[in-house]
């Protein structure tokens, strides 16, 4: 089963083609790395997948809903976490959970019990009343991820999720990601850390609005005769003609 199905998706701004006829599928429970240089069209593509922007042409289904006709249903079935913005620093841990769960339309009595359950599972039960600002970075990121899947979305978009954390915290974070994937949540990851991309099941690389490569990290390294994803990226990005 696929959580994302996209066929010849295109977005034009005037005579500029930001996203140029991309087609791909993402299976349920898969972790997809969505890479590309600045200006390659990643953000525009992601905005269409989230139902925030209407494609100029092409079709797509996300979480079973049509991206042109049912963008509101899509929004209810996705989660989002970015390293730059994810939680309100001045709110307490439980207040953040309450706020985001409310935004996604969860019922109040469900929120309370699920909050305790989640904090217990993370080993954060004692931090329920802590102001988020005072938590260590690694904890914040784990909490932010747990909040992004709190309403049980079908798919979560992660924007550079582990930038700047220490290597041990980073691995714990990826374990959470794999755990979510194991439970059937699909993960869509963008990052500038190429070694982080190697944690994904498959990687897509965008150049000038098109998907130029798509495969497992191993396949891509073989295809481009490279020893690392960093090298694959550089070989592909060199072909770019678009100037940001």
């Amino acid at each position: 089963m696929n959580t994302i199905e996209v066929h010849e998706l295109t977005k034009k701004f005037g005579d500029f083609t930001a996203v140029d006829s991309i087609s791909f599928d993402v299976a349920t429970g898969e972790v997809l790395g969505f890479l590309g240089a600045n200006g390659a069209g990643k953000t525009t593509a992601m905005r269409m997948l989230c139902g925030l922007s209407k494609p100029s042409s092409g079709q797509g289904r996300v979480a079973g809903f049509d991206i042109v006709r049912q963008p509101e249903q899509i929004k209810k079935n996705i989660g989002y976490m970015s390293q730059k913005f994810s939680l309100y620093e001045d709110l307490k841990v439980w207040e953040n959970i309450r706020l985001f769960a409310g935004i996604y339309g969860m019922e109040n009595r469900l929120i309370a019990t699920k909050t305790d359950e989640m904090l217990h599972r993370l080993g954060f039960a004692s931090e329920k009343n802590t102001i988020v600002k005072t938590l260590p970075l690694g904890w914040k990121q784990k909490l932010a991820f747990s909040v992004s899947i709190f309403h049980e979305p079908k798919i979560v978009f992660l924007d550079e999720p582990t930038g700047g954390v220490d290597p041990i915290t980073r691995r714990q974070f990826w374990e959470l990601i794999y755990q979510a994937a194991h439970r059937g949540i699909t993960l869509f990851v963008t990052t500038h850390y190429m070694d982080e991309a190697e944690y994904c099941n498959r990687i897509s690389m965008m150049v000038d609005g098109r998907i130029e490569a798509l495969g497992t990290p191993k396949q891509l390294k073989q295809q481009f005769q490279a020893t690392s994803i960093d090298e694959v990226f550089r070989k592909l990005a060199r072909k770019a003609v678009r100037n940001e």
Binding site: A37, N38, G39, P136, L137, E160, G163, G164, V165, D166, P167, I168, T169, R171, W174, E175, Y178, Q179, A181, H182, H192, Y193, M194, D195, E198, Y199, T216, P217, K218, S228, D230, F233, R234, A237, R238, E244
Partner: protein, 288 residues
């Protein structure tokens, strides 16, 4: 060129730096590698004479960071982690401003910045705020170099920059090194460690280890093995509870393992691998 002795810095109840000591030789590229909040920026600000340490001493270009701070400022170039140029001035206006502040002109030192600046020169009338990440970084480096410093402090210059621009940036640093400039650079990207002459791994305000990247991986204490499976997550959970295994963690597509005794050969596709700086960092975090 840089001497640091037992530098400590506290903010309220946070110990940002705990008695750090190290030296950087003239013409060396020295990397400070560690996560956010480890103390990298505090260290840079102390050496750039923008912050006073609580205790300890530091010398840059043979000058004391407290007594001789004015002299130091004309001899160093500092590129802070946050883009700190004037966003509403154009590329050329920013460069001219920095040159003027240091009593020099763009023309006088053009040779030093030529290789870097020529890449953004076509956009010289664009406002700095409208540049892409890679171009901002090149402009910031040009501004930090315009007065011909002997020491460069680069605080996370490549964070958030795509791999192509990062590669170009490191190529530029190597050229500057050839011109005799000493470079202290910090990064959270472990894969950039191998591009430095020596590195210090930093965590919670302390150095875990200082050495050349080559020596550091040689000192990894146990044979390291990699295992590639289709079900890494399941294997990880199984192997974590195996008493024969000293450590197991995910590393990209693979699992990395060390054993308490000889490797348990019943595991599929187990191959010995050379440790990376990241493996060393994990090991040092666990044993410190």
């Amino acid at each position: 060129m840089i001497q640091v002795r037992q530098i400590s810095k506290n903010y309220k109840n946070v110990q940002a730096l705990k008695e750090l000591s190290f030296e950087v030789q003239a013409g060396e590229i020295f990397g400070i590698i560690g996560p956010d909040g480890a103390g990298k920026t505090s260290l840079f600000r102390i050496l750039a004479t923008l912050l006073l340490a609580d205790s300890g001493s530091a010398r840059v270009a043979n000058l004391d960071v407290v007594q001789d701070y004015k002299k130091i400022r004309s001899r160093i170039g500092y590129m802070p982690g946050r883009f700190s140029l004037y966003q509403d001035l154009s590329v050329i206006e920013n460069l001219e401003l920095f040159a003027t502040v240091f009593n020099t002109s763009v023309k006088e030192n053009y040779d030093l910045i030529k290789d870097i600046y020529c890449q953004i020169e076509p956009f010289k009338d664009r406002k700095a705020g409208k540049l892409s990440g890679g171009m901002k970084q090149k402009l910031a480096l040009s501004c930090a170099l315009i007065h011909k410093p002997t020491v460069l402090f680069l605080d996370e210059p490549t964070t958030g920059v795509d791999p192509v621009s990062r590669k170009e940036f490191w190529d530029m640093l190597r050229k500057l090194k050839q011109q005799g400039i000493t470079i202290l650079v910090s990064t959270p990207y472990m894969d950039e460690a191998s591009l430095c002459d020596r590195i210090a791994l930093i965590q919670n305000g302390q150095f875990l280890h200082i050495d050349s990247p080559q020596n550091m991986v040689k000192q990894f204490p146990k044979p390291l093995y990699a295992m590639e499976t289709i079900e890494n997550y399941k294997w990880l959970n199984t192997l974590k509870n195996d008493a024969r295994i000293a450590s197991v963690y995910i590393c990209g597509e693979k699992l990395h393992l060390t054993f308490k005794a000889d490797p348990a050969l019943h595991l599929p596709d187990l191959v010995p691998v050379a440790p990376t700086i990241e493996d060393c960092f994990i090991h040092l975090m666990q044993y410190n």
